[in-house]
């Protein structure tokens, strides 16, 4: 009994000390009195982000930070932003929310970042949103299309989305299918979290009557999808709409082949990169199909597109990304990919926000700048941002495309909309934006 009591006292002591230490640490990163922000000096800005550099989500996604870094180096070598160089800290969370909390803590307390820019993943980033907002740290341009980054600016005032959210993607896909394939029997293949949920919500606005089966998978769980594909097959599904990540596109194709399930496939933008998925599929053929031709295995699949990618080398934006990548990639041998373009496009928006903010940079001022001016930022996005005081959701639209020979052929003009009942309208205006000749936003 006395032993237990003594143990209890020890535990309480340790906990108290730990929380005191944590409290001291937490105080450190608040903006100081004279208006300068943590992580910002006269000559530098330090930002950070968590990405899966290892583990099952790493293929593709681990390339995004290299795009960020290449673009920041390009900007730094051209004088920086208001005389400040941008430095980016990248930490690996292996797509595991527990790790995300730990590495975010490191970035806040040890690296003392000014803002998080581009932190990746729905389940992962969800673990740190509260922390970032409580500490007043700008949480810009989350690399995920979950609604929660932008539909509640009052609850998460520091957080901003960037890519189109999954609900509007579901709406655009749903409307396209309803208009062009009204007889299709639709099966939904969903990641079992906000990603799948938001996408389903959007798609059901148009396809409620056409959806005959819904199958889900847990990221990190079993990778054998034969039971799911058997279910589609037995219910007569002839169009699968997948809200899943890229390796799961390959795995679902493998499983469908294994159970003899034939269908048309419509993958959300997230899971559809032809180079990555095609490469994975080709590598299973024992060299019979070289990786470059693996993209042919993706022929006929449909997806959406909201920024120009590697398959459009003549696009002005892609020319800029290619130029930056050729000059600043750390390993010269690696190619420009759609994931690196994604990173550079995000980095471009961040630099744009810093430029618009002016020389006096604080954590509050950057948020205010994006709310006031974000909707008018011209960038690589095919549709404008929705940023305002009432919405922190990102790009407002996309076009539906079909994959042919690894390139995407547009099936629709750019379709712009918003969450909820907002109508879907054709709007190509932002698609004609071109980068300034310097390649750096003004």
């Amino acid at each position: 009994m006395r032993n237990t009591a003594r143990r209890a006292v020890q535990v309480v002591c340790v906990l108290t000390t730990a929380s005191l230490l944590a409290a001291c640490g937490a105080g450190k990163e608040r903006p100081s009195e004279d208006g300068t922000a943590v992580g910002v000096t006269d000559t530098s800005i330090k930002v950070g982000a968590h990405f899966p550099l290892t583990g099952p989500a790493a293929p593709g996604y681990s390339e995004i930070p290299s795009g960020h870094q290449a673009f920041y180096e390009y900007v730094n070598d051209n004088g920086g932003v208001h005389g400040r160089d941008i430095e980016m800290v990248v930490k690996d969370d292996a797509y595991n929310p527990t790790n995300t909390s730990a590495v975010t803590n490191d970035m806040i307390l040890q690296d003392e970042i000014f803002a998080m820019v581009g932190g990746l993943g729905t389940p992962t980033h969800r673990a740190v949103v509260q922390r970032l907002n409580d500490d007043g740290i700008p949480d810009l341009f989350v690399s995920s299309g979950s609604l929660q980054w932008g539909d509640d600016p009052a609850g998460s005032p520091m957080t901003f989305g960037w890519q189109p959210d999954y609900e509007i993607e579901g709406k655009v896909i749903g409307q396209y299918v309803k208009e062009n394939m009204p007889d299709a029997k639709v099966g939904l293949f969903l990641q079992d979290d906000d990603f799948g949920e938001d996408g389903e919500k959007g798609a059901r606005q148009f396809l409620d009557a056409q959806i005959v089966d819904v199958q889900k998978y847990t990221p990190g769980g079993s990778t054998d999808f034969s039971p799911q594909m058997s279910s589609f097959k037995s219910k007569g599904v002839d169009l699968v709409i997948g809200f899943n990540t890229p390796s799961y596109t390959a795995l679902s194709q493998i499983a469908a082949q294994g159970v003899g399930f034939k269908s048309k496939w419509f993958y959300s933008n997230v899971g559809s990169d032809p180079a990555l998925v095609g490469g994975l599929l080709a590598s299973m053929t024992k060299g019979k199909i070289p990786a470059e031709q693996g993209v042919k295995l993706m022929d006929g699949m449909m997806t959406t597109e909201y920024i120009p990618g590697v398959d459009a080398p003549d696009d002005e934006w892609v020319k800029l990304w290619q130029k930056v990548w050729d000059e600043y990639s750390k390993k010269g041998s690696e190619k420009l990919t759609n994931y690196r373009i994604y990173g550079m496009s995000q980095a471009y928006t961040f630099v744009q926000a810093l430029q618009a903010n002016g020389k006096d940079l604080t954590r509050e001022s950057i948020v205010e700048t994006i709310e006031k001016e974000g909707a008018s930022f011209e960038g690589p996005g095919l549709a404008p941002f929705r940023f305002s005081e009432d919405s922190h959701l990102g790009i407002s639209g996309m076009s539906v495309v079909e994959i042919k020979n690894g390139a995407s052929e547009p099936l629709t003009p750019v379709l712009v909309t918003d969450i909820g009942d907002a109508a879907i309208e054709e709007d190509d205006s932002a698609a004609s934006d071109v980068p300034p000749s310097s390649g750096i936003p003004e």
Binding site: S222, T223, Q228, K233, Q257, G258, L280, M284, K286
Partner: protein, 292 residues
Amino acid sequence: MQQFLDTTLGGLVLGAVYAAFALALCLIWRSTRIVNFAQAAMAMVTTYIALSLINADVPYWVAFMAAIAAGFGLGAVIERVIIRPVEGKAELNAVILTLGLFMVLHGLTAITFGVQHRGFPAPVGTSAISVGDTSIGITPFGILTIVVVALVMAGLVVLFRFTDLGLRMRAAAFNGEVSRLLGVRVGRMLTLGWALAAAVGAVAGMLIAGGDLVNPAFMDPFVIYGFIAAVLGGLDSPLGSVIGGLILGLSLSYVTGYVGEHLAPLVALGILMVVLLVRPSGLFAAAAARRV
């Protein structure tokens, strides 16, 4: 009906794979009386060795044999160098050691081969077989998997039940001191047990990887599921391991296909709990319950 057939066939193949893995666990338990949590990681290493050979244009079956040989060698070396020093101490020491080994092998493979997913070819087709106009939910590779697992199981039954070597291995594991007095070279038997188990694990790895994507974590679900399958059947019995594997594979397949994927792990653990409550020594264990 079609779905039921497809799901059943899929479950059988999945079950065969769990069974292969459970066989390796069973083998090591029978020959050394410890549970090897590094089994999955060891099989992952040998699978990567085979993948490197295949990518260097070595024929599939040569690579398959190389994986088995590599497993045999790896198992023997690990037993001699890492496990031997804790043999004869508390059983927990060896078990914790295998957990550590699991992490080390994971890390080393990631450093050597990278963490990205890679496709692993299969020696035979991985598209569903067609009967008439309808395709049924099993692939030539699935059939191959079932056949190979059946052969391995038969081999182990023969080894333990009908050969002198098998008897000596069991004796060495069961009571080292007495066996030594009776002239069994206990150390050598333990090494052989580990080597054989790792070779069977290597076969399981090849069957799991074929026609699928591999990364250093691809075997991780099998640490738990293989263990459940082995315990279901009673760690002691090769036949039990196979039946345990099939029960588990079928249950998971039905649950995923008819109820929802998110319930699959729960069901697996539920089955394990029920079996342990009703028959603590497993469905097919011959001996009375023994303190583990």
